[in-house]
């Protein structure tokens, strides 16, 4: 099982209802300086900051946005994680404690 980890030096800013992921000097070596993300992505980022699993994030997202079918948000979350991983904002570590 893998564990998601937000890259050190990347910060989510919420400014006037806009969400930005911003990378500091070290993080900029592997990811873009600034990337605008949607409100939902901002919500998911905050969940990841709390160390939630995909399952926990799915259930929080369903509650927050009143969604009934769990398969849809789970797919969206997986896609979101893949995109963040590809762009360097997230790292995925292999866990050996299972």
């Amino acid at each position: 099982m893998n564990r998601m980890r937000i890259r050190d030096g990347v910060v989510l800013l919420e400014i006037q209802g806009t969400y930005l992921l911003v990378a500091d000097k070290e993080a900029r070596k592997v990811c873009r300086y600034v990337r605008e993300v949607s409100e939902t992505a901002g919500f998911l980022w905050k969940c990841m900051e709390q160390g939630m699993t995909v399952e926990e994030m799915t259930s929080r997202l369903m509650m927050e946005y009143d969604i009934e079918d769990s398969s849809v948000p789970e797919e969206d979350i997986q896609l979101f994680i893949e995109q963040l991983q590809e762009s360097g904002y997230l790292t995925v570590e292999e866990r050996d404690d299972f």
Binding site: V11, I15, T18, V22, D24, K25, V34, E36
Partner: protein, 256 residues
């Protein structure tokens, strides 16, 4: 490593002070010739303690701002701009990429990425309103949000290739114009939300660490809370500037 507060000069080195928006910063230069580039923005002071002095490594980190063969004094001048933009953040101030001028007793900021025609717009303004305007800074003015929530634009010694600017001017910011080249002239008011990303990218702090990122976010949030923003799509001609002038004149004269 950039050296901050608590640094002391060697015997032969001088310390110079720079007034930025009523905030005095003391500099010690790594390259003695750098002092000359700052002209009358700097005052020699008797302090032996400085706020900002760059190391060679810090300077080289910003080689990308200039060309390969740029002399060391110009490299230090540009690297000091980044160091200063970062240093000012805790005081809700920083440097922003744009041209700023005083008109109708208020400061106006035109901002956009390099090569978008900011200087052309500034020249157009000079042609249209003449002596009714004063250039605050032609490239990297100081933007600040003071305790009472009022946003100011102020002079800085980083004036760009054309050296447009005047010392010690500070005025309340009336509004921001985001510039974009296009095949027609059009101006529209933006909601704050849509101005966040383009304005964030023009803040010149290039944050070193996450504390600075948070300070940039807080500052930009406060600026946008108090400042109208327009987006000008333009051909760079006088008509586009006239359109901007009429738009902000209506805003200035509107009862509030």
């Amino acid at each position: 490593m950039l050296l901050y507060k608590g640094g002391f000069t060697q015997m032969e080195e001088k310390v110079y002070s720079l007034n930025l928006d009523g905030y005095t910063l003391r500099y010690s230069f790594l390259v003695p010739k750098t002092r000359r580039i700052f002209g009358n923005y700097l005052t020699e002071c008797n302090d032996t303690e400085y706020d900002i002095r760059l190391s060679r490594d810090f300077m080289e980190e910003f080689r990308w701002l200039v060309t390969e063969d740029t002399a060391d004094e110009y490299l230090e001048y540009h690297a000091l701009m980044i160091a200063t933009a970062r240093f000012l953040l805790p005081a809700d101030r920083t440097l922003i990429h744009g041209v700023s001028f005083l008109w109708k007793d208020m400061a106006w900021l035109i901002t956009a990425p390099s090569g978008s025609g900011k200087t052309t717009q500034l020249k157009n303004w000079q042609e249209i309103v003449g002596d009714d305007m004063t250039v605050i800074n032609g490239d990297k003015p100081v933007i600040s949000c003071r305790d009472e929530g009022i946003v100011y634009m102020s002079s800085s010694p980083w004036m760009g290739k054309e050296w447009y600017g005047n010392c010690n001017i500070s005025a309340k910011l009336g509004g921001i114009i985001l510039l974009e080249q296009g095949d027609h002239n059009e101006i529209k008011r933006l909601c704050s939300k849509d101005a966040v990303l383009p304005l964030f990218l023009e803040l010149l702090s290039y944050p070193d660490n996450t504390d600075q990122i948070h300070m940039m976010g807080r500052l930009l949030g406060r600026i946008l809370e108090h400042t109208p923003v327009w987006k000008l799509t333009n051909l760079g001609n006088l008509d586009s500037t006239e359109l901007t002038k009429e738009t902000i004149l209506k805003y200035v004269e509107a009862p509030r």
